[in-house]
Amino acid sequence: MSAPSTPASGFNFGANPPDDPEVRVSVEQASYAYSVTDRGAPKFALGPVTFEARRREIVAILGPNASGKSTLLKLLAGLYRPLSGFVRVDGFEASQLDPRERAQKIALVQQESALLFPLRVWEYVLQGRYPYGRRLRFESEEDCLLAANALAQVGAADLRDRWMEQLSGGEKQRVILARALAQQPSLLLLDEPTQHLDIGGKVELLRRLRKLADENRYTVIVVTHELNLAAEFSDRIVLLHGGKCHLSGAPSEVYRREILGPVFEAPLDVEISPSGRPRVRLRDGMGRDSG
């Protein structure tokens, strides 16, 4: 494994292909602060974060509430410009890309807003082709083919003609993912994608993401609260705490009792599952009242 790409200067905003072509996302000393004013000191939302993500990798961003997970995700999506350091996707500074170019490289899946007017599933997925046309655009046959493929990739081909508001939580999540795939991005970002799913839906979604990363060379970065699922399916963990990057590395390096316990302020034990992955559980007897 080669050394991480190190640019000559943190202020180089142009294309800067990484030394290792397998490295898709490189985040180096990236920080962000809200409401930076001349008078007051910047209020840091996220201290310097450094990590890399490669092709076919799933990276999970973990941390308690208000630890800076959403801010990091927005930095990765190029929606915020880092205060220091850089966030590069395929060698391009994410926040410097033109919005359409950015949408061709990075797809962000969030909890969707309520639809104002009814929409068919295929119409929704076709929206993912927007970055590839002129401002006022009509979808081509190729767009339809790619949208159909995206639906097939998430196992939702049969939902094509349904109305969006008729879908169950799990079905909707798959369709939203299909729209992101229709963008043909190299980086797929997901913000708590398992939030409204039952356990079966959660496992199914993460299996699918694993398959997409393995077979289609996507790099997937997921913000999640699901410690055990993250340990099971991800290659790398970025653990945030109090707006700082506490630790990043393989699940086995991050999932330690002395690390997770203080971060999540919970009595956690870590054990190794038969698959060789770490697993978190509440320490014995902590689920019951002591009285």
Binding site: P99, Q110, S113, L116, W122, E123, R135, L136, F138, E139
Partner: protein, 338 residues
């Protein structure tokens, strides 16, 4: 999967243009001076060929002097108000948005009256002032309707209603300074009225209306995405701020222009986009042109009814649109609340 094609849009527009033509012919037929359909068609035919000497003088006066200018005004105003409504609905992410309900028409009317009071003879001052009044009102209603950084549907509508009543109070105050003869005309104009010929050339009215509708149309693909969520649209590469600015300025211009020539005709911007959505779907690439034609049809029909229903007396066209629009607004509001 059958995505929208330019061909389908043209087809829909051709059908609506056909309906508009029929409505126009019907409107030309009805009125105090009786004319047969045959006479109307012949008059229009010779008029189109420029052979006006072959048309009887009274026919020429009735058709080209009275009825057609009023219908043309109705077409421009209907298209402008309906597209402004569709634009405001996307801009504010609220299907109940309408220039009249949001108080934007009142803002435009106040602007127009202020220009009459302070610069009665300035060229297009009334249109400019009406545009500024509309733009200022929608900006005020937008900021009043926000709570915690989010636009809240009910707060927005209430802000619009309050803005409209506040602006109406100022208009009433200004009207007391006008003479008795102007007052009746002004009261009719405030209700929305097509009887008074506009002080600007009809060609100018049509060109500016077309330009503003065209400007909104260039953002149709972006509006489709903004309607599914602003955040999502941004992630998909839409320049949301630019789109909102284009729609804000164009819809305000359309409202200002329509109000300056015809007064505050209500509910067209609510009813027409709603009916078009039910028939042709909510894709803005088809909704904008279909709404423009639908608005023209609606106003020409409403005005025909307004001037024939209690003939020889005329009703203001705004009274007709409010008679239909207000109950539909209540129905839509209740359906949303449930």
């Amino acid at each position: 999967m059958q995505p929208l094609t330019p061909r389908r849009i043209l087809g829909v527009c051709a059908i609506l243009a056909g309906v508009l033509f029929l409505v126009v012919v019907l409107s030309l037929r009805l009125g105090a001076y009786p004319m047969s359909f045959r006479a109307i068609i012949t008059t229009l035919y010779y008029g189109a060929l420029g052979q006006t000497e072959r048309i009887p003088t009274d026919f020429r006066l009735v058709i080209f002097g009275l009825r057609l200018p009023r219908i043309a005004l109705g077409i421009a105003v209907g298209a402008a108000l309906a597209v402004a409504g569709a634009g405001f609905q996307a801009l504010l992410r609220n299907p109940l948005a309408d220039p009249y309900v949001l108080g934007v028409s009142s803002g435009a009317a106040l602007g127009a009256i202020l220009s009459l009071v302070f610069a009665p003879h300035a060229v297009i001052a009334m249109q400019g002032a009406a545009f500024l009044g509309a733009a200022a009102t929608i900006a005020a209603v937008y900021f009043l309707g926000r709570r915690g950084g989010q636009i809240e549907s009910t707060t927005l509508l209430l802000s619009g209603i309050v803005a409209a009543s506040f602006l109406s109070a100022i208009i009433m105050f200004l009207m007391t300074t006008l003479s008795g003869r102007d007052l009746r005309g002004m009261a009719f104009w405030l209700m929305g009225d097509l009887a008074t010929p506009p002080q600007i050339p009809m060609g100018f009215l049509f060109v500016v209306t077309l330009a503003a509708v065209g400007a909104i149309y260039t953002t149709a693909s972006d509006l489709n995405l903004i309607l599914t969520g602003e955040q999502e649209a941004r992630h998909l590469g839409v320049n949301v701020a630019r789109v909102k600015l284009v729609v804000y300025l164009s819809a305000s211009l359309l409202t200002g222009l329509a109000v300056s020539v015809s007064g505050a005709i209500g509910y067209v911007g609510l009813l027409v986009p709603h009916v078009i959505r039910m028939i042709f779907g909510s894709d803005y690439r088809i909704l904008i042109p279909a709404t423009a034609l639908g608005g023209a049809i609606a106003i020409v029909l409403a005005d025909t009814l307004a001037r024939t229903i209690v003939a020889p007396t005329e009703l203001p066209v705004g009274a007709m649109t409010a008679l239909v629009g207000a109950p539909v607004f209540i129905y839509l509001l209740r359906r949303r609340v449930r």
